[in-house]
Symmetry: D2
Amino acid sequence: MQAAVHRLPAAAPDDVSTLLAAIGSGAIDPARIVAVLGKTEGNGCVNDFTRGFATRALKDAVAHASGRTYAEVSAAVAFVMSGGTEGGLAPHWLVFEARPAPPGDPAAGPRLAVGTAMTRPFLPEEVGRLPQVEATADAVRRAMRDASILAPADVHYVQVKCPLLTRARIAEAEARGRDVATGDTYESMGLSRGASALGVALALGEVPAAALPTDAVICHDFSLWSARASTSAGIELMENQVMVLGNSAAWRGDLAIGHAVMADALDVGAAAAALSSLGIGVAGQLGAAGRARVAAVLAKAEPSRSGLIRGRRHTMLDDSDINATRHARALVGGVLAGVFGDTELFVSGGAEHQGPDGGGPLAVIARQGRTGPQAA
Amino acid sequence: MQAAVHRLPAAAPDDVSTLLAAIGSGAIDPARIVAVLGKTEGNGCVNDFTRGFATRALKDAVAHASGRTYAEVSAAVAFVMSGGTEGGLAPHWLVFEARPAPPGDPAAGPRLAVGTAMTRPFLPEEVGRLPQVEATADAVRRAMRDASILAPADVHYVQVKCPLLTRARIAEAEARGRDVATGDTYESMGLSRGASALGVALALGEVPAAALPTDAVICHDFSLWSARASTSAGIELMENQVMVLGNSAAWRGDLAIGHAVMADALDVGAAAAALSSLGIGVAGQLGAAGRARVAAVLAKAEPSRSGLIRGRRHTMLDDSDINATRHARALVGGVLAGVFGDTELFVSGGAEHQGPDGGGPLAVIARQGRTGPQAA
Amino acid sequence: MQAAVHRLPAAAPDDVSTLLAAIGSGAIDPARIVAVLGKTEGNGCVNDFTRGFATRALKDAVAHASGRTYAEVSAAVAFVMSGGTEGGLAPHWLVFEARPAPPGDPAAGPRLAVGTAMTRPFLPEEVGRLPQVEATADAVRRAMRDASILAPADVHYVQVKCPLLTRARIAEAEARGRDVATGDTYESMGLSRGASALGVALALGEVPAAALPTDAVICHDFSLWSARASTSAGIELMENQVMVLGNSAAWRGDLAIGHAVMADALDVGAAAAALSSLGIGVAGQLGAAGRARVAAVLAKAEPSRSGLIRGRRHTMLDDSDINATRHARALVGGVLAGVFGDTELFVSGGAEHQGPDGGGPLAVIARQGRTGPQAA
Amino acid sequence: MQAAVHRLPAAAPDDVSTLLAAIGSGAIDPARIVAVLGKTEGNGCVNDFTRGFATRALKDAVAHASGRTYAEVSAAVAFVMSGGTEGGLAPHWLVFEARPAPPGDPAAGPRLAVGTAMTRPFLPEEVGRLPQVEATADAVRRAMRDASILAPADVHYVQVKCPLLTRARIAEAEARGRDVATGDTYESMGLSRGASALGVALALGEVPAAALPTDAVICHDFSLWSARASTSAGIELMENQVMVLGNSAAWRGDLAIGHAVMADALDVGAAAAALSSLGIGVAGQLGAAGRARVAAVLAKAEPSRSGLIRGRRHTMLDDSDINATRHARALVGGVLAGVFGDTELFVSGGAEHQGPDGGGPLAVIARQGRTGPQAA
């Protein structure tokens, strides 16, 4: 197999014209699409309907182009929308294809591999608790096998879409005599994201099982985190959907992926490290040649809970006009845009157990020459 | 004379504790303060009262510490507040002192020089028009003389505080049979900033007088701009207050100033150029030694009117929840924080005729060794 | 014919479950739907995508239920979404049906009549100018005929959906050597709404043709206004779509419509007058019996340009965190909710030439007994 | 004694010109001011600096006018600022004076009485817990005595300013081995307001002591509430400051106070009941004669936790662009402005244990003729 990644600009949440054009030109085979990640221009918070609007438009387009029903496409393709293009971030789609490699293509080294898996549907009382952690870890392992990725060290990015609690779900659990992790539906999003991230960390060996004795560590002990998880909660599912990106000798093509962890929001060194792992040097800002090799940039942003960035006060957490996660995306988007010389960056918020406080995972997918990615 | 610049964190708009501590320790002589620039945590737009709150608290503190009245301090010291600490920007004060140089201090090269001047009060019908341009240019020339800066090339930053129109002012002009540049009070802020910036450009030879034939160019022909102007409009004055920062052989001390123009919001090369002009190298992010030399960073931010950043769409101008200038400050603040490794940056918005579309002036004040600043 | 109006709650912008349930139960015949007005929960400003999301979901639902294509439904049914449920306003759909009256139903008096018409597509240089005014007036007259409404006095509400200018449209006009009313796309929305409202006023005799000598009166002379127009601008069309609601002896059923003009945002007397014209008395808050008769409430809200409400200052126009139209909808929504005892009110913003400064048209549709509506 | 209430418009948070004018004309004796309530135009949330700015300006003005120091005025006068003028609410000051009654003024009936008291400073671990409840109840009783109000039924409004927890305060308690009610500083505001409101309820007999067995009821059992408490949390104090307003036969003058409880946000009947208790009839909107008698309107607003208003969905709690309390003030402000025909209303948010879910206390102060207020 070989993976392709298409980064396509979007003029509006429901603008699928660039996708249709790429399908029309043959650049994309709609039947081979395995995932679409989208950066949409809503607020990225509770009442961000640009995510749902984009998902509907994208599913309609893929269904129509590939002669499948909306339900079939929904079941076969992962659609993960991240709202929020604060600062200068550019709305765009990242379309992932998994295609048969052309016969005779020699193995030039490990290449970008994509795998997906799903957990069973969770009961409301499992969301944000250890059963979600463990089932997610299991799904990550299965997605690795699906992608023919052998070692956890070859995984560089794990996207998880996870459920949240609604009033109805809480009521259903309580009617069965069960209590839930929280009665606050907004808080349930963070708990679900946090449990999912810890599931990734468990599968990748970043956090040992012994560090997860009880539910109480979830969204409390933030010293536990994954350097490669990116999780987001949505109302439309009760299971966890997992997409693993890594490098595998079983895959062909010209793409590879690397990652690093931003220690804080200003950690441009992490970007340089991720690029370096892919054989791309940067001093200051990436030049045109380097930019041409970058296929996608995926990062997490979160305001530091300390209220400080390198000892300086930030005002994100005290701003009642602009949600803190919006400030954080603007900041990390600006820092990374300075390095990559580009604003088409998939920077998303809500980073519970995903990187250290105020920092977060950063992954880069880039075109490779003959030698492929360096050891991380 | 010699100039001192103190960068002091602020925990709230009225937090003058760090200023009082610096006065208490003798680090600042309140009688020698010539200007205070403040980055406050309001929205930087119409209803940003953090600027007025900060000004009141700062004037009270300086008056009390120096045994002067509030009115005396208001007349003697320039207070310029810029609202908006979007992204990760840190609220802070920049306190400028002009002190007698210690006797015997040898001239090591041109050093940071500060000069101020004022125009006459404008009539409402002059605001945003050529009379404001010309009077500002004249004040810039006088402020240069006040600072003993001989050549326009030695000016690196000009801060102008300028008036705006109110309903009452418009009515007063109309009662005398005069028309004003605009009946929209908000729009008058942009016109006043624009006219003031063109005044700076005229004085510094960046725009020839022949390029300003009529009022109509103001806020229309944006190919005309100053690389060193930073202008802001306020309701509390009818004249233009001008502060010029440059380098002069007549000044002593260890500070010098350099500048560059950001061609767009991602122009990290401009930051490197400004630092380089001060003898400070940077590749990626400024290290601890470089950071220790930087005394202040002053930049302008504005969303590109094209709706694009290097060909990618931005959503700043279409966002009705967050004002475009707030997005722009967050973006430029993030880009520069990545370079300087610091969020205590004076990034302000409203950049009519101040740098090219989507870019803006950038000035750095830094401590020098023996040799002083390089030629720009 | 007879008209039916269904007021259906919406749990989200794409929630069509109540519509589908009403179709499923036979309460609504999807083939008879002539218009859907929607109050959606976006910001009602530029980047409000809830309107487009709702329109897509509603069209999909009606198309599927009535066995037509999306394009057929788009051509046959008017969909007008108004964003903004500030304060306590409840998201909802108003579904208008025009059905054959059951045979033998006696004429009990004039009843709610619905008519629609369309102008030709406008050229960009016509938008916001007299040609749009005149073509709109002509369409209103045709819609009246379509509804069998004989006299302008029997028209009580005219909904117009009108185009706006985009950069592309402006460029196309300029390429042909034409100038447009404004180069500011946001401003073009107001001009288009204003011209459309004046077209309604012209058709209904509220403003004489002589009062419209040149384009310059549009959005300038606000003493000219319609008491029955409600106009909104959208990007998806170049013509004006007109829906007229009035009372006609040619229609049957139990509904009638009345209107009044709110002189300012606090004018509860206007609500009482509109109700009284439909035979419903109110002192304080409408009781359960009155509420049961009300089928729909349609109102316009706009901040007063004077900055005052009955001599008291309001802060809507100076608030850079919340758009002024959002404050205005919240206020008028609160005032009317107090009278109607209900928050399911279609309160929309952007009221250029629609009622006096700070006030606006108010229409009520209510169930009638035998005698029908009183003379206005 | 006799009380005077002056309702003065404010053109900005620091606009004390109307206060100075009233002092200058002799209408207000600055030495007799006992409290100033202010409605300021900030967001009413965490980063609302208009409250602090207003307090500083008002204290400066009162100090200067009465020949006292800033500290003396701070100790002698209660300043309570409520941020948020959403919808059409008008920024204003309510200045309360307590003056000696002119000799010979006959007792015409119970008249507006003002009393104040303070609790001891609380330890951080007491905030939001029963010790705060009990100490507040005791202070309410003392303030009643101070006002010569004999019976709880004669109390109609109790304003409490209470502390909140900061990181420093929490750390101090923890260093002593004590735990605090919450580690979340924002949540501590709600707990402190809630405990204070329950203290009022306890003192007034609205909630029996037996209903408050443990700290756990605070901000959990919302069936417990006061119909007369209005509490707000501020960072600048550690004690509770209590102001009681009621009617007392020991006071003279022409003012009296009445109250009612809004059962929900649309409860215009409560406004009518409060007015009626003061001998003022209203049907629809208060007429000019009635308006002339109203000296102040004080109300609490809060979004209903059910997400519903009379069965209709509201979107306040899901809006990540506008804080829910801002929507609630806009709504209640609109409903009450419709009744009072006036937008100069002191509507404040944060109503834990202050009225039922989605409703809240409402007090009116009005000028009386000879007979004084009716029995409640």
